[in-house]
Structures are given as structure tokens and as C-alpha cells.
Amino acid sequence: MSGAESAASPKQDFEKALDQSDTSVASFDTKEKSFLDRIQHFLHGNPTMVPVIVLLASVVVFGLLAGSRFFSPFNLSLIIQQVSIIGILAAAQSLIILTAGIDLSVAAIMVLMSVISGKLAVEMGVPAPLALLVAFVGGTAAGIMNGLLVTRIKLPPFIVTLGTWNIFFALNLWLSGAQSIRSQDIDSAAPLLKFFGNNIALGSARLTYGSILMVVVFVALWYMLNKTAWGRHVYAIGDDKEAAELAGIRTDRTLVSVYALAGFVCAIGAWASIGRVGSVSPQSFYEGNLQSITAVVIGGISLFGGRGSIMGALFGALIVGVFQSGLRLAGVDVLWQVFAIGWLIIIAVAIDQWIRKVSA
């Protein structure tokens, strides 16, 4: 069936004129684009560039404000180290947010799993690898629980994870008795738990294994989301769940797998957090849930799902780290750091909305 043939055989009377229809490609006068228009178009085509630009700009600004102390290799590696745990949680959070969900329980799962592995390895004498395995299985199971509540009982992810956040936090306090496991006890009983606190010295920079782990987690998830069919399905579900279902995707099964994977990533975070903090503390990372959402939002991933790159969340986490470090080195009070992060969230989403308005 060719175009010429089809135009030659209209069946309805009013279609006769199609024979003479114009076949040239349409062209229009375009008005001169302003510089702002060009930026808008560029960012629309390259959404991950927004957090990258903000990250670079903030590094430059704080470098000027705080001088060489900020730019020292030690400080830069410290920033990466400081954001590594929230970064890993933000990776898990990104998975959920890409499906148009939200997970308020990521940090609670992580802390609970660090307590479980600590309890088992340090206080009950279970071999450390086995204790960690229990934590990985537990984290995945916690994610599956969230996923099943979302898909089977059809509850909004916000409500499900608001509930499980409290449940996991209470379990964590119960299991730990609200007591930390001391650093020396971990060192003598199960040094493997603190593996990710080790570092590689590069000059004065201290690159911890935990920092490297964070990057590895992001690269692995980026690959899964962008290079596999599963990743396409995650985006399709976040975009329009009903359409994805009709197009033949097992949406519920995929959603449960997303929550399970997020839980597993939280368990990875649990192991890394023991190395980062040095001890197992049931009270740590209480704000981690919201901080992970902050990183994701600043990274330009849409809360409505289906849009954004997981690498944005990595840059988002780094932006928060750069702001905190830069403001601290510039001698600004902690409360103003929080103030700045608040504005950062609002501005990030405002820019995101502006970019989306571009007519492609």
C-alpha cells in the first residue's frame, strides 16, 4: 500500500479532492528565539542537565565564598562521604517515585536492617555474612510488604509507607531496646559490618568504600531503568498505569518488584550506614525518609512519575551536600542551611515546571 495508490482510490465522494492534495512538507515562519527560549528547549531535551548545572554552579559559588578550604580534595571527598547514605536511600526513593509513588519508609527499613544485622552479628554471635544476608532478605521482604499493600489492597503509596514507616521504626526500637551497638563491639565481633567505612587515600582525599558503593548502586539502577525491558515498564507505569496495563504489562507484578528492589537497596544502605556512622544506632537517620525525597526532587525527577533520570537523584544528593558543606565553611548557622535547602526544593520544582511548559 503506497501513498500514491491510496490517494488515487478514494471511496467516498468528498475525498475526491485528495488526489490534488498538497504533498510538500509544511514550512512556517518561525519567530526569532530568545536566549531564554533556547535554554528552555535545551533543558527540555536534556532534563538531567538542570541538577548538573546547579551542582556545578553551587560548587563555583561556594568555592568563591569559602575559598580553598571548600575546594580541598579532602573536603570534596568528605561531601561525597556525607551524602553517601542519603544518596543510596535516594536511589531507592527514585525507583518508587518513577512509578508515581512515594516511599516514606526507606530510612526506617534501612535502620531496622542495620539493627537486625548488628544484633545478630555482634550480640548473638551469628557469622557476619549470614547476619548481612538476613538483612538483605529482610529489606527485600519489607519492600515486598509495601508493594503488596499498594497493589493488592490498592492503598495509596503515601498511606502504606506512612504506616510502615511507623511500624518499622517501632520494631527497630523494640529490637534494639533503643540502645546503640558500640563501635568497639562491632570491631571485635564483626568488623565486616563496618567494611564500607574503609577508605582509599588519594592524596588528602579520603574516598570511602561507601562513597564508591553509592555510585555503583546508581550506575546499576541506571542500567536497569534504561537498558532493560523492566526499566521501560517502570517508566510506562509511572507515566500512565492503565495504558501500560492495556499495552500488556503486568503492572502489579512490576510494581511489587520495584518496591522489593527499593527495599533491597535500603538494606545495602543499612550495611553502608554502619560503616559511615561507625556504630549501629536505632535513632540515626530519622530524617532520612524526607531527605531522600529532597534529593530526588532537587534531582529533577517528577513526583507525578514516569519522568526524570535516576542520575538526577545522585546529583540532587550531591547538591544538598555541597550546600551544607559550603554554608558551614562560610560560617553560616545550621538553621540557615536548612532554610537554604527549603528554597532549593521549591526552586528546583519551579524550574522543572517551567521546562515542561516548552512546546516540543
Binding site: 521501560r232 500512565d240 499495552a247
Partner: protein, 262 residues
């Protein structure tokens, strides 16, 4: 239609209720090999519910269905698709932020050969883009520069074209089209109608749901008139006029007895 020929798709006594609304009330359905069957009916007559029942998108409350004489029961659109029934839904079931190629291969992606495919599940984007481009060209409906364009950047007609191309490319037993020309201009509608005839000439039966009487009477071999949740009658477009059909489907006129029996 020769009664000795076994229908490709047959349904008897389908009932579907949504709360207190009855969408299908003892509906019957027959699709014979190689034919274009048009389904017409007023808004709310239950056409879409009928289509959703045979394409696996909804579970019926009662009734039986047969594909090639074998009873079947689809729990999801995926199962219907695996059985060779492809459907273009009214809402098109496309993901706006994903590319044309991604959408065409949604749920049936092609992986790389070798270790990258089997171990690392890596997609073969080049191959999928090549096939997608080929299918769209076959359809001749596209003036698309870039197969990696997001579907949301396409016009309504182009989106429809992508959805129709997807069904035509992958359907092996039955293709179901729900209002395929509703969003299209004169020229694009003509292309879709030709595509429909092209698909039939390959021996594949088609179910066409449409409100456009000229289109229905032009391409359909038989017309299934749906009214108040059930099949009212089946007519041959050569024996009746468009106004007859409209009269049947709106209840202005009783259908002839032999058409009801068919």
C-alpha cells in the same frame, strides 16, 4: 455467512455489571475468518465493554467465549495478546513520555543476542527502532522524522497511527480497532481504512468499532448492531442502508427477524 464455518471468535451470554449498571446483558458475538465485522451502537450501548471482554481487559461476570472453537478465558490483555488478539483501545494505551519505538514494543521488547541479552537483559534498541520504522512506513501514515520522539510530541492522528501500526504489526489471529478513525483527518482516515483492508487481505479478521457510518458501510462485511448491552441483530451492509442501521441501533425501528437470528 455460512453457518458451517466455525467462528474465529465466539461469545455467548456475556454479562458484565459495574455496580448497579449493567454494561453487557446476555451479549452474543461472532467473528468469522477473514471478515471485517463492524460493531455499531449508541453511546453507552456496551460496545467498549464487549471489546474489553474479548480482549481480556475486563473479566465478565457470566458467559462463555471461544477462540477457534476452543473455550478461553483471558485474565489480562497480555493473555489475549499472547493468543494473537491485538487491540487498539480508544485511549490508545500509549505511554506519552516514552518513544514511538518503546511504545510499539511495550511488553514484547527484543533483547540483544548473546551474553548481554541473556545475562544482562540488555535491549536491542537498534533492531526495535528498525522494525518500528519499517512498520510505520508500511502504514504510510507517518510524517515522523524521529522514531525516538516521545509520543506526547505527536499529533492526535499520529498517535493513532502508532497504535494502529502496533496492532497490525503484531496481531496474528484477530485485530480489534476501537474507533480507529475518530481522531483522524480525511486523509489519515483513508489511510487507516486502507490499512484495515490490507490487513484483511492477509486473511486476518478484524473487529471495527465505529460511529462513522460511511466508513462502516464501506469496509464492513457484516455489521453487528449493539443495543442496550446486547447484540440486537447482524446485518449485511449490502442489504440495508445507513439510515436502516441507525434506526435499528437507536430503537426507532425493529430489526427484521432473519437478521436477529443470524
Amino acid at each position: 455467512m455460512n453457518p458451517a464455518v466455525e467462528p474465529v471468535l465466539k461469545a455467548r451470554g456475556l454479562v458484565k455489571r459495574y455496580g448497579r449498571v449493567t454494561a453487557l446483558n446476555n451479549a452474543d458475538f461472532d467473528l468469522y475468518p477473514g471478515e471485517i465485522l463492524a460493531v455499531i451502537g449508541d453511546n453507552g450501548a456496551g460496545k467498549s465493554s464487549l471489546i474489553k471482554a474479548i480482549s481480556g481487559a475486563t473479566n465478565v461476570d457470566e458467559g462463555k467465549m471461544w477462540l477457534d472453537g476452543k473455550p478461553f478465558h483471558f485474565n489480562s490483555p497480555l493473555e489475549a495478546r499472547e493468543a494473537g488478539i491485538e487491540t487498539v483501545y480508544q485511549n490508545l494505551a500509549l505511554s506519552p513520555a516514552l518513544s514511538i519505538a518503546d511504545n510499539m514494543f511495550m511488553g514484547r521488547e527484543i533483547r540483544r543476542s548473546g551474553v548481554m541479552g541473556s545475562m544482562f537483559k540488555m535491549l536491542d534498541n537498534k533492531e526495535m527502532q528498525r522494525i518500528a520504522r519499517e512498520k510505520l512506513n508500511e502504514l504510510g501514515l507517518m510524517t515522523i522524522q524521529n522514531i525516538n520522539q516521545a509520543v506526547e510530541t505527536l499529533s492526535g492522528g499520529q498517535r493513532q497511527g502508532v497504535a494502529v501500526a502496533r496492532a497490525a504489526a503484531f496481531g496474528s489471529r484477530v485485530v480489534i480497532l476501537d474507533e480507529p478513525t475518530a481522531a483522524l483527518g480525511v486523509k489519515e482516515s483513508r489511510k487507516v481504512l486502507e490499512l484495515i483492508q490490507d490487513v484483511r487481505s492477509r486473511g486476518m479478521p478484524i473487529v471495527l468499532i465505529s460511529h462513522n457510518m460511511p466508513h462502516v458501510f464501506e469496509v464492513a462485511d457484516r455489521i453487528h448492531v449493539h443495543r442496550l448491552g446486547r447484540r440486537l441483530c447482524t446485518i449485511n451492509p449490502k442489504d440495508y442502508t445507513m439510515s436502516d442501521a441507525v434506526a435499528f441501533m437507536t430503537g426507532a425501528q425493529e430489526p427484521p427477524a432473519e437478521a436477529v437470528a443470524a
